[in-house]
């Protein structure tokens, strides 16, 4: 592998994976703590009809209309879920199930009926993403990597994602206290005069933004995995929110890099030249990290709890 190959093929893909994982992983902490983990699932499924509608209205596959379409669809879905949950007095899981499957179905029908499927939009792509096609063209080696000319050709998804990730990190830092109080104790937050409703709406909108930005590159399934696995892993390891946030970023980065490396170079270990799906592999690595945490976490892991239970039993007077 040459430096040019690495810089133009692997590095952008790794960076996109890491940035997607970080932005979704950071927000996931709040979703998991608020018992809204599956909102991420619903939102990333409805991105499909949004993207198709954006394409049909704008008539191009330019990023902006597609992302706008997906954003609008995500917000509509979140609103519909809330309306159906209240008006129909349904449990939120059922309301989510009704809304996201229906919107996904609308997306598929639109896709098939309008011929949008010929324009590089297809449902499978939406599910798996296409990390491997994120290329940094116009770079030939380490020497010219930092020149203005090369940098200006960085893949567009990478720049979008970097912006979104930075925005999310700044938002969390700026409103840390508000987010923390309203997440752990909505009643207390309301009595302190915090706009609890607005905070949760804004959170959903930002989740939609992160999902849509990551979705194009890594597909909806990896988005869901990143909303949940890093946060859940970190949750197993600590009780402190700030430590949980840092840990989730660490997990996201490890999963992103590790998953990509395993998918791209793993098969060569047994002499296979083809690479595997990076998005899928990143989800698997995140799952493995979470499993390890669930089993071996120092305080809340299954092993240490079993050991504690055993020592307690031994301590009992005979």
């Amino acid at each position: 592998m040459t430096a040019a190959d690495f810089l133009s093929i692997d590095l952008p893909a790794i960076l996109v994976a890491v940035l997607s994982a970080t932005s979704c992983g950071l927000l996931g902490n709040f979703l998991v703590l608020r018992r809204q983990a599956l909102i991420g699932d619903a939102i990333s499924h409805v991105a499909l009809p949004g993207i198709v509608a954006g394409f049909l209205i704008a008539g191009t596959i330019a990023t902006l209309p597609l992302m706008l379409g997906a954003m609008v669809a995500a917000v509509i879905a979140a609103g519909l879920i809330e309306i159906i949950r209240r008006a129909g007095r349904l449990e939120s899981g059922a309301a989510m199930g009704v809304v996201f499957t229906t919107m996904f179905a609308i997306g598929i029908v639109l896709l098939e009926q309008t011929g949008a499927s010929n324009a590089h939009i297809d449902a499978e792509h939406a599910l798996y993403g296409n990390l491997e096609s994120t290329l940094w063209l116009g770079v030939t080696g380490w020497d010219d990597a930092l020149t203005w000319e090369a940098l200006s050709q960085l893949p567009r998804q990478l720049i979008t994602l970097a912006g979104v990730t930075a925005a999310i990190a700044i938002m969390i830092a700026a409103f840390y206290k508000e987010l923390k109080v309203s997440t752990f104790d909505a009643g207390l937050a309301a009595s302190l005069g915090l706009p609890v409703r607005t905070i949760s709406t804004v959170l959903i909108v930002v989740v939609a933004l992160a999902a849509v930005a990551a979705f194009e590159a890594v597909g909806s399934i990896l988005v869901i995995a990143m909303f949940i696995c890093p946060a859940a892993t970190a949750r197993m390891l600590t009780d402190s929110l700030s430590r949980q946030l840092w840990l989730s970023v660490l997990v996201a980065v490890i999963a992103g890099v590790g998953g990509y490396v395993l998918a791209a170079f793993g098969p060569q270990l047994w002499g296979d030249t083809d690479s595997l799906s990076a998005a899928g592999m990143i989800a698997v690595v995140a799952g493995l990290l979470q499993t390890a945490a669930m089993i071996a976490a120092p305080r809340y892991g299954i092993l240490s709890r079993a050991i504690r239970r055993r020592t307690r039993q031994l301590d009992l007077p005979a």
């Binding site: 008006a87 029908v109 599910l127 995995a225 909303f227 949940i228 197993m236 592999m281």
Partner: protein
């Protein structure tokens, strides 16, 4: 075109179309009937974890099929693989929920994304094999009835019928556990086993339906019909029957439309038919529907406004706000020049008397009075026995 639609709907669209349609209807009924129980247990999205967790199973079954020298497209083998990893997925969800500090929704999200990720990795490996029939695997994602042979449709229909039959046989047990787990346990039923049977059936219907409607949309078949049926009834038997009927109806309409029109994927059309039924139920169901609820609320506001207006009139004022003014004007208690009419005077003094009696009742029997809404202007004679009203009358003077 309408004639053609009619002939498909009435099973005259050719042998293959009819068999596929019958299979899809059986699948719809099965999804509706079996979905009721996880819906009632407020675990509707467990099916989301199951359906995504089937993907690695499908891929592994395909690889096994190839290794055994076939094309890997044997539907029964693929279904078995799907059910195996689907079951593994459910076990993982329950394990995470029961043995770690993570809640069930995080467990479902973890399982669905990680299992699906594994499935994608395996599929990306399969794509490099250039094996025969691998293109057919994609139909498991989004489903297709076009690719369904008559034999496969018979398998799907038959398996759905068996699942429905088992669910009906266990209806009493399922109902008890779904409505009140503690009660079922106290009755001596083995809740864990009944739960397992419920999940097993859910798993079966997901595995059966995968090929037809795809793994994202199969979830809709077990969530939307029960959620729709819930608007119409409170009783388990009727809920199951109605949910099955809605599922079957969605399968029938969706299956027919997709057979008739080009580029109409069956799974999506079936889900849209189910969503239409849901919307109608949400809006128009007689007691729990949104419109019935709105009408009830409006009536309540009008009655309260009338009480407000009449009480103000009894004290010699005009009704205090726009709504109460319009209501008493509409009922003819005041005329166009804002003068109190004869009937208005009578009604106002009767309302004042009612209010006095209710106040006395509330002072003397505060607990009992809690069960009546003070705003709706219920006549006290209509709800309390005459002797109590007479006592109140004596005390209120």
């Amino acid at each position: 075109m309408p004639g053609e639609l009619f002939s498909i709907l009435t099973f005259q669209g050719g042998y293959n179309t009819s068999v596929v349609l019958a299979g899809v209807i059986a699948l719809g009924i099965g999804g509706g009937v079996i979905g009721v129980f996880s819906f009632l247990r407020k675990r509707a999205l467990i099916s989301d974890a199951i359906s995504h967790a089937t993907l690695p199973g499908i891929a592994i079954a395909f690889l096994i099929g190839i290794a055994l020298g076939g094309t890997g497209r044997n539907l029964a083998l693929l279904m078995a693989g799907a059910a195996t990893t689907g079951a593994l997925g459910v076990l993982c969800v329950q394990w995470i929920r029961d043995y770690t500090r993570l809640p069930e929704d995080a467990a479902i999200g973890t399982v669905l994304s990680v299992f699906f990720g594994l499935g994608i990795v395996l599929l990306s490996h399969i794509q490099t094999l250039q094996a025969a029939g691998q293109a057919g695997l994609n139909s498991f994602l989004l489903g297709s009835t076009a690719a369904l042979t008559a034999g496969e449709a018979q398998l799907i229909g038959g398996a759905s019928l068996v699942a429905i039959l088992i669910a009906l046989l266990l209806l009493k047990e399922f109902g008890a556990v779904a409505f009140d787990e503690g009660f079922a346990a106290a009755q001596g039923w083995r809740v864990a086993r009944i739960d397992l049977a419920m999940i097993g059936l859910l798993l079966a219907i997901v595995a059966i339906g995968l090929k037809t409607v795809g793994l994202v949309l199969i979830i809709a078949l077990v969530i939307i019909p029960p959620a729709s049926a819930r608007f119409w009834t409170e009783r388990l038997g009727r809920l199951v029957a109605l949910s099955g009927a809605f599922g079957g109806l969605a399968g029938w309409l969706g299956g027919s439309l997709s057979a008739l029109l080009p580029d109409m994927p069956a799974g999506a059309v079936i889900v849209l038919a189910a969503a239409a039924i849901f919307t109608i139920s949400l809006l128009f169901a007689p007691r729990r529907g949104v419109i019935a609820w709105g009408v009830r609320r409006l009536r309540m506001r009008i009655r309260a406004a009338s009480v407000r207006g009449l009480l103000a009139m009894a004290d010699g004022y005009l009704p205090p706000d726009g709504l109460s003014y319009r209501v008493v004007r509409w009922r003819g208690y005041i005329d166009g020049d804002a003068r109190i009419t004869e009937s208005g005077r009578t009604a106002a003094s009767e309302m004042r008397r009612q209010d006095r009696l209710w106040q006395t009742y509330r002072t003397r029997h505060p607990e009992a009075a809690l069960s009546f809404n003070p705003l709706t202007g219920t006549r006290i004679e209509d709800v309390l026995p005459a002797d109590i009203v007479a006592t109140l009358e004596a005390h209120s003077r």
